[in-house]
């Protein structure tokens, strides 16, 4: 068997396959090395399809709306980006677009691609590229932070107007739950092992 090393303290470790439901921590620095999940590949595939379906309503339908002096205004994910851009805050607009729209989408698409090829046992020369991008992107998809932003904005708005929740918000919350489950079910250790096997096969 091959040896392994802790990514955060470089401790040389004897390989040990943790069982489902078990957590393997680095004995020296406490880093969470493995947390295998049941049917990791299948669940990742199912969750990314669900996420992809939710992406559309979450992005297009209004999240929250306000009603002032009889006229109502709705806000979607996209309208925030657009307004910032038209006010000349293009740097912030680009950052918000990336972290609340593009990266969450890429996160789901890449999970779908990787788990699809692993599930059907098909080798693909881009598998390790996709997996690498997925690992680097994860941190920059910030849907749950956006949700907190919505809550704070609503609290600020209640003093001046009536706040209404749109249909898009429910899709958005569902999307957060799905991406959260995706993160906890995607077992990187297992995925890389399968990618290595498939790469050797082709």
């Amino acid at each position: 068997m091959e040896l392994a090393a802790c990514p955060e303290c470089d401790l040389l470790l004897n390989p040990h396959q943790a069982a489902v439901g078990e957590k393997a921590h680095c004995p020296r620095c406490g880093y969470l090395l493995q947390r295998p999940s049941k049917q990791s590949i299948e669940r990742t595939l199912a969750l990314s399809i669900a996420g992809l379906l939710l992406m559309l309503p979450a992005n297009l339908l209004p999240l929250v709306g306000i009603k002032v002096l009889g006229t109502s205004h709705d806000g979607t994910l996209w309208s925030g980006v657009f307004t910032l851009f038209s006010e000349g805050m293009w740097a912030v607009a680009v950052l918000v677009f990336l972290s609340s729209m593009l990266f969450p989408l890429l996160n789901i698409v890449l999970s779908l691609l990787v788990s699809f090829y692993l599930h059907f046992n098909k080798p693909n020369k881009y598998l390790s590229h996709w997996m690498r991008w997925l690992q680097h992107l994860k941190e920059w998809a910030m849907l749950e932070v956006y949700m907190l932003g919505i809550i704070v904005a609503c609290v600020k708005l209640t003093s001046m107007s009536e706040v209404k929740f749109g249909l898009g918000l429910y899709a958005f919350i569902a999307l957060i739950v799905v991406t959260g489950m995706l993160a906890s079910h995607l077992d990187g250790y297992l995925f890389w092992r399968h990618i290595r096997r498939l790469n050797n096969k082709s």
Binding site: C9, L11, R28, G30, G80, S128, V145, G149, K156
Partner: protein, 204 residues
């Protein structure tokens, strides 16, 4: 399970992406074709440069208004701290605390914490390596939550857009603050926590 030796001291390099161990001086990982390096290249220099830029931007981010609220023609600029006081005034204590933690405390703790880690590695301070790694882990985890303020402004700007009656316009501090968040996130990822354990004076 425990071997008590660094992979590098046994002549092995761990692939940053897939975790496969290769012999030192292998340029590419045989499993995923990623670049191999014993430690992140120029980790301390990069982290220090990103930290210095963040310190420089932290000042305008807190001094300039992050948004201007116009009501019936009268404009009222808000700084980050001003926004927190406005929340306290309207009796929203928990939300005010949340914003205080996400926009003031988290960036400050990140900047100071990462600076201390860089110093401790560079000057070989005798520190508790396990504790320092936990500090690094917390810094890397909380960074993204500072985007809270930026997202809140995005929503306010798009909703409160009623011409003369009421309007919210993002201020110059928003760009500076967004830069602080992004730069500190890059600083955290460019710091290699294994350097903490390479420090000869560190203890467990």
């Amino acid at each position: 399970m425990k071997t008590n030796a660094n992979a590098l001291s046994r002549g092995l390099i761990r692939c940053h992406d897939c975790g496969h161990l290769s012999k030192v001086n292998t340029p590419q990982c045989p499993v995923c074709n990623g670049h191999l390096y014993p430690r992140k290249p120029k980790s301390l220099q990069r982290t220090a440069a990103l930290l210095l830029s963040s310190y420089a931007l932290y000042l305008p981010a807190n001094v300039f208004p992050i948004m201007t609220v116009t009501r019936l023609g009268a404009g009222e600029p808000h700084t980050i701290i001003g926004g927190i006081f406005a929340l306290i005034d309207s009796g929203m204590m928990p939300i005010a605390l949340l914003v205080l933690v996400a926009s003031i405390l988290v960036p400050m703790v990140k900047l100071l914490g990462l600076s201390l880690l860089v110093f401790s590695v560079y000057f070989h301070w005798p520190i508790n390596a396990r504790l320092a790694t936990v500090v690094y882990r917390i810094i890397a985890f909380v960074g993204r939550w500072s985007m809270l303020d930026i997202f809140m402004i995005t929503i306010l700007v798009s909703l409160v857009n009623l011409g003369g009656v009421a309007q919210v316009i993002a201020g110059p501090a928003a760009t500076a603050f967004a830069c602080v968040v992004v730069l500190t996130m890059f600083a955290a990822t460019s710091f290699d926590p294994r350097l903490i354990w390479d420090n000869p004076n560190a203890y467990e």
